[in-house]
Symmetry: C2
Subunit: 322 residues, 2 copies
């Protein structure tokens, strides 16, 4: 089983996180990092780095360092995101900004960014460093774009895909890419893994945005409707706007332009509209398009158990949709 073969590497990543917390020599940094580590999460991004590396060679310390670096970049982004979104709950736990304040979250996020770069440098792979620096630069740029696009119901599917690619998918792509790089993959193989990660990441965000309207709060670990409350225009709304009547379109424009607090009735009305026009099916069809790209990127790689596992992970990801 692939997951049992990766168990020791995953444990090493947990150890690197603990070391970063304790090595900070500052109790507040230590506390915050340990709190985030407790929330855990799926560690999906570092897993992709490890699997991508395993496709081409066996155990590899550099892959572990890069996987941990990827997780640190992700965690730093989450800390800053929660400040930006004023979130109070993530993965069922109180957020760091809610517990220690925005200031601490900003600075511990910065600390984790630096730790990520220290881990990358340790591998001495300038190519991997380049990939991850480019990815984190694109992520922060895209997060600024996202702020600018708040309330913009005029957004089109292409705008959405660009945003999602840059803010989410690029880190999945880089995670796969750097695993392959430090494992001696050929250039075209690195490119295929990048394509896999990028398309996986697009699906991942499409489903996340779908679940923000249709998910179960217990399994999400947060309230539904968060994007609506923050006036974030996501794929469900873009597709709805392309299907609904003029009057319903006016309602959407008006409600997403308002900056005051929305009512539960308004959220229900939107969910009813999404159901009325069967937006779920439209989203599934788009996600399936990216799934095809995802799977075909794997076809030109060595067909071993690790590639099959990646194939399965991509297919499984769509199962999060009802």
């Amino acid at each position: 089983m692939v997951s049992s073969k990766l168990k020791s590497e995953i444990l090493k990543i947990d150890q690197i996180i603990t070391d970063a917390a304790e090595g900070a020599d500052e109790m507040l940094v230590n506390e915050v990092i340990k709190h985030i580590a407790k929330a855990g999460g799926k560690r999906l991004r570092p897993l992709f780095t490890l699997i991508s590396a395993k496709i081409f060679s066996d155990s590899n310390e550099n892959a572990v360092s890069l996987a941990a670096a990827v997780e640190f970049v992700h965690t730093a982004t989450l800390l800053h995101d929660d400040v930006v979104d004023e979130s109070s709950v993530r993965r069922g736990l109180q957020t760091a900004n809610d517990l220690w304040g925005n200031k601490t979250s900003i600075l511990v996020g910065d600390y984790l960014f630096s730790q990520a770069f220290k881990l990358m440098i340790k591998t001495e792979s300038l190519q991997a460093l380049n990939c991850l620096a480019a990815a984190s630069s694109l992520i922060s740029k895209a997060e600024v774009s996202q702020l600018r696009l708040i309330g913009m119901v005029e957004m089109q599917i292409d705008d959405y895909v660009k945003l999602v690619t840059e803010k989410t998918a690029i880190l999945f792509a880089a995670a796969c890419q750097v695993g392959a790089i430090v494992s001696g993959a050929k250039d075209h193989e690195v490119d295929h893994l990048y394509a896999y990660g990028l398309n996986f990441g697009i699906i991942f965000q499409i489903i996340d945005d779908y679940l923000d309207y249709f998910g179960q709060e217990e399994s999400l670990g947060k309230q539904i409707g968060g994007d609506f409350l923050e006036n974030k225009v996501t794929l469900p709304i873009i597709l709805l706007k392309n299907h609904c009547s003029e009057a319903e379109k006016d309602f959407l424009s008006q409600v997403f332009a308002r900056s005051d607090i929305k009512s539960a009735d308004e959220l229900s009305k939107i969910i009813n509209l999404l159901n009325k026009y069967d937006i779920t099916t439209a989203i599934k069809s788009i996600a399936n398009k990216y799934l095809e790209k995802c799977l075909s990127a794997l076809e030109l790689l060595p067909q071993n158990e690790f590639v099959h596992h990646m194939d399965m992970l991509a297919q499984d990801s769509l199962q999060r949709m009802r």
Copy 2:
């Protein structure tokens, strides 16, 4: 003249900043970076990178990239600092957080951090990358410590020097260090420049903290008493506590423990106490101790005009005190 010899390099740094703004392909990032560039500042840190490089060799593209990287790390730190400190004015201009909100400042700060790393990677010097990653990790850790130490009048001079070393001096040290590294300096020469930068940075922050009570608002570009308003315990207060009466000590403990808004009278009372015990002289004497270390670090370097210029910069820095 040293400054004329560095003119073209300084212009290149300005160009790199403009390129980073325009290359972002996001108008909000572009606007914010251009606003910060307008505020300018002394570009002291990148200057140290350039001068340190020039001591050992002539024009060097890598030194320019690293100098720009140092400036980006500094600017990113300022953007996040202004959010943390809730500042509305810096260098006489409205701060980015005041103009575009905290969210944008956090994310553009992250973007600049990534740009800094991209510039460092371009030089392909893992040693320089290590120095700057270690420095930025220490800076964010120290900023968290600073938050924890708010209102702590029990702070001693040693605690203050540790904090100032890690949050401010380390970037001056790294700026000098990386300039020397990419210019082919020997290890002991790199170490001397590091020591110069570190001690320069300590003096720099000591004087900044002095000017926060004794500066002229026009030349500072911000109001005096900012540290007091934020309950930041700095060298003037630590020294004052070591000299004043028990009743005055109680006043200090009480006023720095309070989180409500302070009155102008309270600030005047503190400034009067600082004058009463001639804290300026005590600060000068401490700053002079670091100036000696700063200058002696230069003695074992090649005695050329660039080293002489660094000597002069250190001596001049103390002139900011009356």
